[in-house]
């Protein structure tokens, strides 16, 4: 066993001499796993897709030995905790984590850290200090939505808020940003709030349910993946379409383009790019390569304005979400930016 390890180390060293630059060979025998808690919407599907592409290419290039993706069958913290513990047993060197809960996985994450496994949480992050966190400034995203509304509707009015999956940190952060924005622009008032679970069908049902009880609504603040459903619900109820902030989904962009062509509809679309999984992958690779990576990293969110609508719509596959795939260089830039 020892000689095999030694052999592998020698090989790695030899390979290291060849490609010393990207530190890729230092991780040639490392195995990375993705622990994902939910796959039931277009964003997560695009995320898994991007991750699979990045991972496949990296494994083919010999950057890492394996980069497998696991998704829990139900969005439950106990199940994901068990999944993380299984990954420790399977001997993965790093776990990329999109967490079902910011806190309830801390026990399992600590077990992983204690076993020498690097844990990199992204998108929905965990609070355990031993893990790395690749977060989007979701609070800022919520605030920008209201700022944009304030430029378009200076006289203010009633807003409907569509929230995400209850109990997930992302949902809290975006909502907090929206409420901060409202505190700043006091001409707006949130008259209703529903959970759309970041899925069009859920959002449509939820909005249709609350609409009859609402006064006139001038704007809808959303979290992404729910704007098209909201538009459908407004149309079905025969109410005028308010200014709906969109979340980069292809169906939302398509609807936006149709509305723009029909009646000059203008809005803003913003969301975190599902490609953040590929960023997490490269950050994980850098950590395994022995780079000094700060525990807290920030990625910018992807904003689509009226001007880039057509180009964004062209590059987004049907049923998916506007995306960017991050590279090793992007990861290094993000790491350098956080230092």
């Amino acid at each position: 066993m020892k000689s095999i390890l030694m052999g592998a180390a020698t090989l790695a060293l030899m390979a290291g001499a060849v490609h010393a630059e990207g530190h890729s060979a230092a991780t040639a025998d490392k195995r990375i796993a993705l622990s994902n808690n939910y796959a039931g919407n277009s964003w997560r599907q695009a995320m898994l897709q991007t991750y699979a592409e990045t991972a496949e290419a990296a494994v083919a290039d010999g950057v890492v030995a394996a980069a497998d993706a696991f998704t829990t069958s139900e969005n439950q913290t106990t199940e994901q905790a068990a999944q993380i513990q299984n990954m420790i047993l399977q001997g993965y060197d790093a776990i990329l984590l999109n967490a079902a809960s910011p806190t309830a996985l801390n026990g399992a994450v600590k077990e992983a850290c204690d076993a020498g496994v690097k844990v990199i949480s992204f998108d929905s992050i965990v609070t355990e200090p031993c893990a790395w966190r690749i977060a989007v400034d979701f609070v800022e995203m919520g605030r920008q939505e209201v700022d944009y509304l304030a430029t378009r509707l200076p006289e203010g009015g009633n807003l409907l808020e569509i929230r995400g999956l209850a109990g997930v940190s992302t949902d809290d952060a975006i909502s907090q940003g929206i409420h901060d924005g409202i505190a700043e622009h006091s001409q707006f008032e949130i008259v209703g709030s529903v959970h759309g679970d970041w899925a069009q069908d859920v959002a449509q049902k939820a909005v249709a349910g609350i609409l009859p009880s609402l006064p006139d609504v001038v704007g809808v603040v959303t979290q992404g993946g729910d704007g098209y459903g909201a538009a459908e619900a407004f149309a079905a109820a025969g109410r005028p379409t308010p200014l709906i902030i969109l979340g980069n989904r292809q169906d939302e962009l398509k609807w936006w383009a149709e509305q723009r062509d029909a009646n000059g509809y203008e809005t803003l679309s913003l969301s975190i790019a599902p490609g953040v999984a590929s960023l997490a992958f490269w950050v994980g690779q850098q950590i395994l390569a022995g780079e000094d990576v700060p525990k807290d990293l920030t990625v910018p969110f992807l904003t689509i304005t009226q001007d880039d609508l057509d180009s964004a719509l062209e590059t987004t596959p049907e049923g998916s979400v506007a995306n960017v795939s991050y590279t090793l260089e992007d990861a290094q830039a993000v790491i350098a930016g956080a230092k």
Binding site: A39, D68, F70, T71, T72, S73, E74, Q76, T77, T78, E79, A81, A82, Q83, Q85, N86, I88, L89, Q90, G91, S101, P102, T103, A104, L105, N106, G107, A108, K110, E111, A115, G167, S169, D172
Partner: protein, 307 residues
Amino acid sequence: MLARYRILLPVISLAVLLCLTFWMQPRAMSYFGLNLLFNLAVPIALATIAQMMIIMVNDIDLSLGAFVSLVACVTATWLNDAPLIGALILLGLIASYAAMGAVIHTLELPAIVVTLGMSFVWGGMALFLLPTPGGASPSWIRTLMTIKPPLIPMAVVAAILIAALTHILVIRSKIGTVLRGVGGNTRSIARAGWNVTALKATAYGLSGLFGVLAGMALVGLTTSADANIALRYTLLSIAGVILGGGEFTGGKVSPVGAVIGALTLTLAASFLSFLRLSPDWQIGAQGAILILVLTARLLLSRKGAAT
């Protein structure tokens, strides 16, 4: 099937799954590995015992998952910040479980409906207490759940302790025997002069007690809580009882089997993930394992009846 053979099938199912897991993932065959495989089974085992107390008196509890979630929320907030108030709340929860049993019996309400309704009450209270995930585990619970006893990992020690204690309580003790009698034949127990309402309240109270222990153990492992943390436990606990040789006809339960059933279910999930089965198939595969074991039991009991 004779009662003493009832335990055989769960033991065999667990042994087979364990061998398969060790074969797939030799790393699991260690102190560290066993603990990782089974530590999340400890709260499930406690919840399964809680469910067993209800199934024992011929009822079923659909609120258990929500109840354990609520207990987890209380443990991570009140019990941590103000231990005395926290303990009082937990005692109150056990008492309300006992009251629920008494109400179900006196008003002759179907338990399935009452507990389903109560699940929304527990769920609402949990959300009220902890609208966003958080809280922290009291340090003594964390210490207890991460303790490293010599030779045998905590999870295995805990499973053996739970099985042994509940075996004594349910099978050997006087009160346990009478409670099983309530499930088997309520009328004869009533005619023998027992107060059935009090007995049902006792069974539900015991269930509440084990539900509280399950929630506390869970928080000890996860270090914090959220309002939906244990929703899966309702179905897992019912499956665990049945997998462990219990029957819906009341009175026929096996505490040791229930603990083994909980371990088997936990292991089945890990085994499927080691198999690299797609998550879309995992729930179905878990169900298939359950059906497989139940079919085996049916075949065995038919054979037992024929000879």
